[in-house]
Symmetry: C2
Subunit: 332 residues, 2 copies
Amino acid sequence: MSKYNMRDVAKLAGVSIATVSHTINNTRSVSERSKSKVLTAIDQLGYSPDVFARGMRTGKKNIIGFIVPDISNKYFATIIERVEDVISDKGYILTILNTKEDPAREIEHVRYLVSGVVDGLLIASTLEDIGDLRAMLPDGLPVVLVDRKDESARYDSVVVSNYQALYQGVRRLVKDGHRRIGYVAGMPRLSTTKERLGAYVQAMKDCSVPLEEGFVQYGNSMQESAYSCMGELMGKNCTAIAVSNGQMSLDAFEYACANGLEIGRDVDLLCFSDFDNTLVKYFPMYVVSQPVKDLGYLAGKQILARIENESAPVREVLLCGAFFSKNDPKEF
Amino acid sequence: MSKYNMRDVAKLAGVSIATVSHTINNTRSVSERSKSKVLTAIDQLGYSPDVFARGMRTGKKNIIGFIVPDISNKYFATIIERVEDVISDKGYILTILNTKEDPAREIEHVRYLVSGVVDGLLIASTLEDIGDLRAMLPDGLPVVLVDRKDESARYDSVVVSNYQALYQGVRRLVKDGHRRIGYVAGMPRLSTTKERLGAYVQAMKDCSVPLEEGFVQYGNSMQESAYSCMGELMGKNCTAIAVSNGQMSLDAFEYACANGLEIGRDVDLLCFSDFDNTLVKYFPMYVVSQPVKDLGYLAGKQILARIENESAPVREVLLCGAFFSKNDPKEF
DNA sequence: AAATCTTATAAAAACGTTTACGATTTTCCA
DNA sequence: TGGAAAATCGTAAACGTTTTTATAAGATTT
């Protein structure tokens, strides 16, 4: 089975190349006789149309790109899965580019994808400034921002706000008797980091709990990075620690285990759970749970909608995380 | 910033379209004068070459496809990440198709990808018979099988054998006093399932431990499927249970927690750990650890090598899992 | 039987590149 | 200064589709 083209099919079927195209695409009436001849010829040669040639001619690529910061982070893996679900129903395939949280890599990937490769683009950007993105994106290209808002309201976005849930969680820690509450933040440049940190700070303030120097530690959400933050915070005699994303929550758990701290007794943990997380179900942790599957689903739907109708008004989808206290049953 | 083509660049620069192409690709000498004119024109228009047109003309797509059974399974997510690492160094981008363990979806995806979309293809197949794959794959297409051998030795493969490790693990369970050892197997059609089951059976036999009816339960490695298997096995008064992949190991752990079983006392678990798994480090479990990062790395290298030299002899890369007993330090 | 309309087909242009081929200019040396 | 060699460049063909335009055949109406 090597590569044949339409000409080969046409010759074998004894019809013109145009007829072959039209029978394949049902794009104008073809006599039964010709149609069957073409179909058997296609079958016989194992022919399938060249995707690149078709893409070039029609401008339609049937590809949607997704730029993610970290593909092996289960948070994004789950989003990706849902997106793929949604768009593959409509005949699109998904091309994934991994930036590894590296802005330079992200720019490189965007540059590549926009040069006529995709029909639409999902971006979970790690860029400090969305403006940098805007400069690279061609005017007509459908784009949906995932997990990241666009202040200029130029692109659709699907984000989840954890402000309320985290605020509530920190207040609950105070209510349960904690005064020394540490916080492990994500990368400073991300909007989610700022939002969540704001929730923590506001909750502390509203509860009139002093926020000591060093109570806020910055991790980078890559594997193991929060481990050392935990060390710092425990060194400051924190009795509870809030951790601001799923990946780092695992690190925090690991730190506790490794240092013989019993969670719920020696230290309380307010964690993020991005998915079906076994840990948070069976250990007495406070949890902010993110509707990550919905996030993926809605992101997929949104890019399809945008491709369908490029001139629809910009849409911002906002989901909310939910807070569960340490003894709540965690049904999510 | 809308779409320009070479003709636009050529006109603006006052040179021919060929000169533009050649300056872009460094494919023949161009005078400094022309070169700089072209470069500024490109910059001015924000031009970048159309990937599809180029792909059609040259036949080179710079895309490698990866067909995976379950993208949100951390085992595969990790492999994917490593593969992307390796191939993006060489200028390739990765297109990922998720089959959700569904053979029909896999076939659909393969059909799509082989029609001139990719320069090479990685497949972690869930098909019962690799022969079905072979029938669809064009002759010249570079293909590497991941996590799955090809009995006909027609395609390169990168697989990890856990026979030894699992065999060793089961024997160790016996040595530590267990007689009633249950087994949670994966999907029957997979070669890895057969291999691992073989290791368990052989170990039991070699230790002269009777293998009772119902000691082997089949899960499907999707979320939660091993949960019910655990129920069955505990109902048969097993004192130890071996679980044959990473995803299902998490289920088993969850089952134990949910039912108030303390691991290492009420029941012993022989688990698979596909990655940096916090659980297995801090609970007294027996563990088979898979070199999953190496697997991804080698798979990426192999597809590049195959693209580079299509006529090189077929290569089978075989990695081995490692066994750790429940009180060993788990440094992996 | 001529004229018209419908249907089926073929021929050819176009998409945006790369590249083979040929042409022109420049450089260099006798 | 003449001419050969080297350097530079432009024209046009090709890649495999889709789609427009033109044509031929068959069916229907006048």
